[in-house]
Amino acid sequence: MLARVRTFAIDGVEPRQVWVEVDIRSGLPAFTIVGLGDIAVRESRDRVRAAVQNSGFGFPQQRITANLAPAFLRKVGPGFDAALALAVLAAHGEVPAETLDDYAVFGELSLTGELRDSPGALAVAEGARRAHVRRLIVPRERAREAALVDGLTIVGVSSLRDAVEVVKGGEPPPLPAPVPNGKLAWCEPDLADVRGHAAPLLALQIAAAGAHNLLLEGAPGTGKTMLARRLPSILPEMSRPEAIAVTRIHSVTGLHADGLITARPFRAPHHTISPAGLVGGGSPLRPGEATLANHGVLFLDELSEFQRSTLDALRQPLEDGCVTIVRAQRALMFPTRFMLVAATNPCPCGFVGVDDRCTCGEPDLRRHRRKLSGPLLDRMDLLVTVGRPAEDELRAPATTSSAEVRERVAVARERQRDRLAGSPARCNGEMDTRLVRRHVRLDERAEQILGDAYSAGALSARGRLRVLRLARTIADLDGSEGVSSAHVLTALGLRQRAGPPAAVV
């Protein structure tokens, strides 16, 4: 007897349709699985056999051959168990094979016949919808996540037995109730906790409004990390497609299990991370932190401590919004549209510019500067120094709150969306040269100031483009359609780096 069941393999973060074909014929009892599976797939034989028997079904004592088609695609992980078991039961006649055609099945089996939690159900559900499957069987823990995809019925079951019941025509169990959100609003980081820091607060707001990359520089303990951690609290909400994209990635990597992720991701990898860990790689290919931060924030604390190769690996993802990783067999593309926020000490000891506390020698400083300068720094829109707040500022009441700022940010984003409608960019930080030329209109005085700064050598050509983008966002926050000289000057002021005087020559 022959039967086949549809399931989906996850290739990077993309679902790929896989047919599980099972053929049972007379011969010595044997169970072989072909179709380029990894060790987890090979071990699946024993899990499936035990699960089928412990669920109260008979396991055919015949020659069983299972194939995972297409055979060229490498299949990884235990997510094919349930599909294999159902295909075996269908080939054996325990389940009607024709009704199985409406279903796709996804999940790992335990020996008891339980359907175990398996990461990536949302990606599988998207694949199922694309393949026009009407019903998808997933582990019960993943049902709510898979149900985020419209257009097909999600059946969340907790055991193989229940799955068989449903396929035979039984009533599918209702979706589990949502788990109440365990987060308490008042312990989320909020801008209301910040005292002083006038310029960095402004920079955070502008960065959030235009999705600009931001570098915070300052002595240890001044609050760089504290400020960066408050960035998610003022970012605008994600649209539904964005939220689904984020949830899918987090689900595939097993970081998230229940329902839709609504908060923008904030990823803060440690500085010992490898290039593959940051942009994706390894075997099997996994998305890196840059992809996990898609539509959110990638925060690199202690930027100067990261390996040079790791930082260099970020260049393409930053520029293109995606990273393509090529391995011998295939190329995979991961989305990487994130906002880069980095924090660093201004020198190895951290105290340059703070009275006379810096103990670094000239060579140390030069090395530090060289490590920071270059390609990555060039991609930062905002370079802001975080100073020590004054004593009376620490005692002063809060100047602003996240809710207040988020509202302004949302309004500014709205303006950008309207302006950029029909172009690939959605916010000012994503505008390319052509869009900048079209949408950033300077008045005469602003034009002159920017020209002066450029010819004084204070700006590179790329720096000029960044200032234009920034000035556009500042004008958006101001609610102004034109970009004035004040906007350009503020933008110039937010690219703070100590250096030779701007106006020499």
Partner: protein
Amino acid sequence: MSWLIARLAGHLEPVRGRIEELLALGADELIVAVAGAERERVLAERENLRPDRLRVHSEQSGLEPVCRCDAAYPRRLLQLASAPRVLYVAGGVERLRELVAEDPVAIVGARRASDYGLEVACALGRGLASARVAVVSGMALGIDSAAHGGALAANGGTIAVLPGGADRPYPRAERALYQQIRRTGVAISELPAGAPVFRWSFPARNRIIAALSSLTIVVEARERSGSLITARIARELERPVAAVPGRVTSPLAAGPNALLAHGAELVRGAQDVLDVLFGAGVRGASTRDRAGVAPELESMLAQVADGADTVATLARDGLTAEQTLAALSALELAGYLRREPGGRYVVVP
């Protein structure tokens, strides 16, 4: 003669020793000294030379020649045994005459200079130019350019003495500066239009800088620097030499510190220079001309000078961070403020 020097430029290249001694020779002696096998040919070419054509050529390049007997020829140069017979001037003979009428000051120094040196050179250039003292330098990268830039920023006059023909910038990287100097100052050279630059051109140029100026200031110079040649020639002409002190551990300070040890005048700012030139307290270095600064920016500048030097402290009296940053950027672009590590702003002297 300038034709001859340009013609023999290649022959001068292998010469070791002091170039000014060779340049002090008469035309025939020079030919004998360096032309070697080409002597006959050079002599013949010299016979057939058409001075009027040379004149037309230099005028086409926008240069005006000034002969040694000309009234516009700087008197001070004549003290030099090797005084150029002709100076080619870009930017106008009349302007050159005005600039050298009173005491011009040379500011020279290292090409690869430190931020400190560049800032001091720029500030000296600005301070002297605003006290109506012309700034002479060689338009080289580093200190020289910073000094010219400072003088131009104060709308003052400046003289660039170029190693090659004065019709084109050398080094080419300073094109923008060269154009600016031609507009409001002068660029001069002893070589005709289009003359290329040789190794000996630099010490030869330095002797003109030293002889043209009443005082030579060395800002930063390594131990074996061309700027020290300028200082030596100035001393030989019995003109005062001054130097800006530096850190004793820095190789860039070796030159000026050695000069100071041997009796050069100490320069801490434009006022010190004016005291040496005109006697102590005779002429004051005007405080910076801040005519173009709006009143609200003026008050911010005063606050920064008083020690309120970060955005956070400045933004406290009624201004938003945005307005403060905009004002600070405007002041920075105008060259009144500079950023320091740690997010502090300091007033540029």
